[in-house]
Symmetry: C2
C-alpha cells in the first residue's frame, strides 16, 4: 500500500489505540448508520491494522429492508450483508457501533442485540451509537444518568424508551464518558470523525475525511434538525 | 407505513418516473460510494415502489476489502454483501449506479463490470457514477465527448484511462445528458439528492435529506478537494 507512506501517525502508539471493532446489525437497520462510520474505518484500515466483527443474532444474511409491515410491501429495495459472528460467538471488541433503523421499532427484532450491548458494555473501551441506536443502548441500561442524543425525527418514540437518560435535543453528537451517541443517519459520519480525532489524532481524522471528500460538521452542537422537527 | 401520509408527491406521475434501480459491485468497491446513494433510495422506497438489483460478476458475496496486495494485509476489516444478479442475469434497470473503489485499480477485477456498463447503457434512462466509478464508465466508452468528473485524489490515474472524456477537475458532480458523474466517495450523497430533485422533484429530495439529517451541497461546482489535491 504505497499510500501508507504519507499517512499521519496516531498521537498514541498504535498498539495503545483501539483496533478491534464490532458492529451490530439486525433486519431493517439503516444502511448509512453503519456505512458512514464503516467507510471511514474501512479507509483507516488501509493504514492501521484494524479488525471488524459484524455481529447479529444468527449468521443468516441481514437485509436493510424493514421486516414485514414495518416496510413498504410495494417496494423491493434493500441490501443484504453477511454477519461474521453471532451475539454468542463474537470475539472481544474495543469499540462497538450500534445503528438505528426502522427495524428497531419492533422490540422482538432487537431484544437479542440489546441484551448483547448490556452484556458486553463493561468490556468495551468505547460505545458509539448512530441515530436510534442510542435508544437500544438506553434500553440496555448503559446510558442511565448520562447525556445522550438520538434521531430528531424519531425523538419522542426513542427518548420515551428510557427517561433515566439525560436526552439532549439539540446536538449532532454527545460524548459522556466512553459513550458517543449521535443524531440521525448521516450524523454517524460526523461522530466517527470526531471519535477518530480523539482516539487517533486530528491529523488522522482529517486525512480520512479528505480521502472521503467529506466536509465534516466539527461542532457537536450543530443541529438544524432539532428545530426542523419541533424540538427545543 | 404511516409516514407515507405526509410524504410529498413526485412532480411527475410515479408510473412515469424511474423505479428500477441497479447497482454494480466488485471486490474492493468503496462502501460509501454505494451506501450513500442507496441509503437515500432505501428511504425513498418506504414511499415509492422502487426495485433494486445488486449486480456482480457472480452471485458470490462481495467484500469491500480490496483484494490481495491492493489492500492492507495486516487489517481484517470489510463488509460482505450478497448480489441479487450477475451481469448475465440482471433484469432491465432504469437507473444504474457505478461505484469506485481501490478494487478497480486492477483491470481484471472490473473488466466484466465495464463490459456490462457498455452493453446496458443504451437501455438505461440514467447512469450515475460515484468516485472512480466514472473511470469505469469512461472505459466502457459511454463518456466519450461528454463532460464528467471523478475522485480528486485519484484524478491523474482515473482521467488518463480515457482522454476522450472532457474531465472537469473542479466539480462536486457533473450532468451531461443522462449521465451523472460525481467526485470522491461522499459526493455520492450530493449527486443522488440532486438526481432525486431532478427526476422526482425537489420536495421529495428535501424530505429524504431531512430524514437522513443530511446537509446537502446544492452547488454542483462546490469542490474544495480539487484545490486540496492540487488540481486546477
Amino acid at each position: 500500500m504505497s499510500a501508507q507512506v504519507d499517512f499521519p501517525s496516531p498521537t498514541r502508539p498504535i498498539s495503545e489505540t483501539p483496533l478491534r471493532y464490532g458492529v451490530i446489525i439486525y433486519p431493517g437497520y439503516q444502511a448509512l448508520d453503519i456505512f458512514g462510520p464503516l467507510d471511514a474505518l474501512n479507509t483507516l484500515s488501509l493504514y492501521f491494522p484494524l479488525q471488524l466483527s459484524v455481529i447479529a443474532q444468527t449468521l443468516d444474511p441481514v437485509s436493510t429492508k424493514p421486516p414485514g409491515s414495518l416496510g413498504n410491501l410495494a417496494a423491493d429495495f434493500g441490501q443484504t450483508i453477511i454477519p461474521t459472528h453471532t451475539f454468542d460467538t463474537a470475539p472481544p471488541v474495543d469499540v462497538l457501533i450500534v445503528p438505528g433503523g426502522i427495524g428497531n421499532r419492533d422490540p422482538k427484532n432487537v431484544e437479542a442485540a440489546i441484551a448483547y450491548v448490556a452484556k458486553v458494555y463493561p468490556t468495551l473501551q468505547y460505545l458509539v451509537t448512530v441515530c436510534t441506536g442510542s435508544g437500544m443502548a438506553a434500553e440496555a441500561g448503559v446510558l442511565d444518568g448520562r447525556r445522550a442524543t438520538t434521531n430528531k425525527r424519531a425523538w419522542a418514540r426513542t427518548t420515551q424508551l428510557r427517561p433515566q437518560v439525560h436526552w439532549e435535543a439539540h446536538a449532532r453528537w454527545v460524548v459522556d464518558g466512553n459513550i458517543w451517541t449521535s443524531s440521525g443517519v448521516s450524523a454517524g459520519l460526523d461522530v466517527i470523525f470526531a471519535f477518530m480525532g480523539e482516539v487517533y489524532g486530528e491529523e488522522v481524522a482529517t486525512a480520512i475525511a479528505n480521502f472521503l471528500e467529506y466536509e465534516r460538521h466539527m461542532d457537536a452542537s450543530w443541529d438544524p434538525y432539532a428545530g426542523l422537527y419541533g424540538l427545543a
